[in-house]
Symmetry: C2
Subunit: 270 residues, 2 copies
DNA sequence: TGATATTGTTCAATATATAGAATGTTATTC
DNA sequence: GAATAACATTCTATATATTGAACAATATCA
């Protein structure tokens, strides 16, 4: 009857909710463990994992063992530490294999990144929570870039956020609530931001001029998978001079028309 | 009390075993669902998934709902079809981010692939079951290649298999049992293959001269993460002439010395 | 278009996954 | 190097995830 003295961490609290609501709580626990291991810089022992997620150690052990058996987590018998295993790559491959957006977007991204010497991303819009980078193209050597695929960002941040606010059908209340939680280098006021969202709606693409990361300009153009349902965005990222002056309008046009072409192709196919 | 008339499929039978043995069967079910969706060419409905995996539909529904909540599976409310969601990419990114093997191996693979005009892979050896491709470098345009990362192959197939047989500490009985299940274009006899394994042990690297895929020569050199424990392999794949004649010895040397350098660096660091 | 088969979803009983204490096991401290 | 602390792991009672049948919603066919 005594109140618990534990103070669950942020992932712990979210997990506790998911566990209560689900008819398969072990799966929520497993996903939380996988994400924690994915974030961690080094392999973790049972106790730290259980503590961070607010799990009972014995339950956490069973979860880990199941994940090890499925080859999604590796276990070092000497140090008793757990880490992500290469099996997660196989799942990602399954997703990449037949994702029409990445197939269609990659050549487009490559073309823009080379022509304007900027980094270009294809982002998948999951909802109001966050976006996931699903395709990348850089002008220079593109070796370490593939590691950026899979990165998650808050949905409403930067230029992509203005696109989602402008073209996704979310209520103003939802949007304002989320807006408060964002972290910017140079935060705009909500009023300023709303004006920019309105401008985005009018122009068809969004600009973040150093708000998210100061000195970095970000452009984003919306892509629709089915008519009326915002699903992806093309994003161009340039440092300082690369996206200033005479080059900018050309880049804006290229990004916007690429996004429109993609939308047409995605809508037509399905 | 009546016997079941269902005849579970292969994934279904394996899953049934995992479910019985585990203290968190929902996780085994979830992993099986993810793998099935990863393999499938198109989104699947509840019933086909449940049938293929030998799951009760209601249970399968709860599993899918939990996976949707975790953003590992997407659900199309109109068609009621499930597919992998981009969230699996985020897990893969977590793995890639701090995997010393891929970091160290990538430049080495690039150098060899360019110099000899062959495809070069870094493979992670999971056990006697299979290997997973974790790094790729190709000589030509390397856009669609990144999709190959995550591919799984039977452990004992091709040149990598001879390496595992030669340098992993597995019993002959285990090896012979698995050998029988392999599928080659031009199957070697077990005696021939054993002779090649012995040669591999002597030379330090393995060759598959068209057995696995006829006309394709595969070289593999072992990489040790900790002294005495085989963990990875470097694999060079060449079509016909590219790996015949005078060029072959130089490629063998390059692959072998690259593997040894990698082994030293991986052992030393940890 | 109406009838029928198939699929997706809810519901209540029960087999069982989970929580928490007890037990080994390893790391840390003095 | 002994004592102590933290850790991983087993064990058992109980809350609950799973099952299989009943129901609702689609899709299919005549």
């Amino acid at each position: 009857m005594a109140g618990k003295s534990k103070q669950p961490s942020t992932p712990g609290r979210q997990l506790a909710k998911a566990v209560r609501d689900s008819k398969a709580p072990a799966i929520s626990r497993a996903a939380a463990v996988l994400r924690l291991l994915g974030k961690s810089e080094k392999p973790l022992g049972l106790q730290p994992i259980a503590r961070e997620l607010g799990l009972v150690p014995s339950t956490c052990l069973y979860v880990l063992r199941a994940l090890v058996a499925e080859e999604l987590v590796s276990f070092d018998a000497d140090t008793k530490r757990y880490a992500l295993e290469a099996g997660v790559l196989t799942l990602a491959r399954g997703w990449l294999r037949r994702n029409e957006f990445t197939d269609l977007a990659q050549p487009v991204l490559d073309s823009i990144s080379q022509r304007f010497d900027v980094t270009v991303l294809g982002a998948h819009i999951v909802g109001l929570d966050h976006i996931i980078v699903v395709a990348v193209s850089q002008s220079g050597a593109n070796l370490q870039l593939s590691a950026q695929i899979g990165s998650r960002f808050p949905a409403l941040i930067s230029a992509t956020g203005r696109c989602i606010a402008a073209f996704g059908d979310h209520t103003d209340a939802d949007i304002e609530a989320r807006f408060g939680t964002l972290r910017w280098d140079e935060p705009p006021t909500f009023a300023d931001w709303q004006a920019q969202v309105a401008e985005t709606r009018q122009r068809g693409f969004a600009v973040d001029a150093g708000n998210y990361i100061s000195g970095v300009t970000v452009l984003a153009a919306p892509v629709w998978k089915t008519r009326g349902k915002l699903s992806h965005a093309l994003v161009a990222i340039g440092i300082g001079s690369a996206v200033k002056g005479s080059g900018l309008p050309a880049l804006q046009d290229a990004l916007l028309s690429a996004a429109q072409t993609l939308s047409n192709r995605l809508c037509g196919e399905v």
